[in-house]
């Protein structure tokens, strides 16, 4: 006698073994499989056939895992770009502010110029990188 719950539990184990995470997205995928099984049974298949059809339609665990990883990698890459931009701004400010202080308090023109000439481009580069990362995040 076909045990649907055991079959679904076995399918879940395969998904977990392939690296599909729980509860997201595995619970959602399981719900989808159950809905499809119901639909297939209503359209005339028996339960084992409906289960096989539903699982086939969901797709192979490895292929799914690759697609989820692709989505996560893209998100991480763009987040890192934004963070790099913010770090650039902070680094640039770390050069500009002491330079400004040196110039204002001690009149040290040479050191101030060095600080500004490094700090300002780094800040601008950081701002540009962060904006680029934000725009790409939406794309």
């Amino acid at each position: 006698m076909f045990d649907l719950e055991a079959a679904i539990a076995g399918w879940r184990m395969q998904m977990l073994a392939a690296g599909i995470k729980t509860p997201v997205p595995l619970d959602e995928l399981e719900f989808h499989v159950r809905e499809e099984i119901e639909r297939q049974v209503k359209s005339g298949l028996n339960t084992p056939q409906a289960f096989a059809a539903a699982v086939q339609q969901i797709g192979q665990a490895n292929a799914l895992k690759q697609e989820f990883e692709k989505a996560e990698r893209t998100f991480m890459k763009r987040t890192l770009i934004i963070l790099a931009g913010i770090l650039g701004v902070l680094l640039g400010m770390a050069l500009i502010m002491p330079a400004a202080h040196l110039y204002k308090e001690q009149g040290m023109m040479h050191n101030a110029v060095v600080g500004f000439s490094w700090g300002i481009p780094i800040v601008l580069f950081g701002v540009g990188t962060a904006v680029f990362g934000l725009k790409r995040r939406k794309a």
């Binding site: 619970d27 719900f31 159950r34 339609q57 797709g59 799914l64 998100f75 939406k138």
Partner: protein, 110 residues
């Protein structure tokens, strides 16, 4: 048979357009697309979910867990403001492509 590149490219605008009509969940989205395309657009069901996941991380849609009629947990998706904007942009681009193709068939310019 629709080329898989076209299926992949059209997935996001279709999902956005369906969610613009109201909140939806993955299984219903797939059934709607199959029904509207007369079965010609066949998504590998599982592949919808990475697309939804990607759209959610990009801030185009949001999700919430609810309950189905049978009491099972079900994830519902809805469109965000950025998703509406993205949908408009997709519609514009697809309309342009469709116009150019239609024009080429008739020997006309858009």
């Amino acid at each position: 048979m629709i080329r898989k590149e076209l299926v992949a490219a059209s997935a996001e605008p279709m999902i956005l357009s369906l969610l613009a009509r109201g909140e939806g969940y993955g299984y219903a989205i797939i059934q709607e697309v199959k029904a509207r395309s007369g079965g010609k657009l066949q998504w590998t069901d599982g592949m919808l979910y990475p697309v939804l996941h990607r759209m959610e991380t990009r801030g185009l849609i949001k999700s919430r867990w609810g309950e189905s009629e049978t009491g099972r947990k079900r994830k519902y998706y809805s469109l965000k403001k950025d998703g509406k904007l993205a949908m408009s942009q997709h519609h514009e681009q697809w309309s342009l492509v469709q116009s150019v193709l239609a024009g080429l068939q008739k020997g006309q310019y858009v």
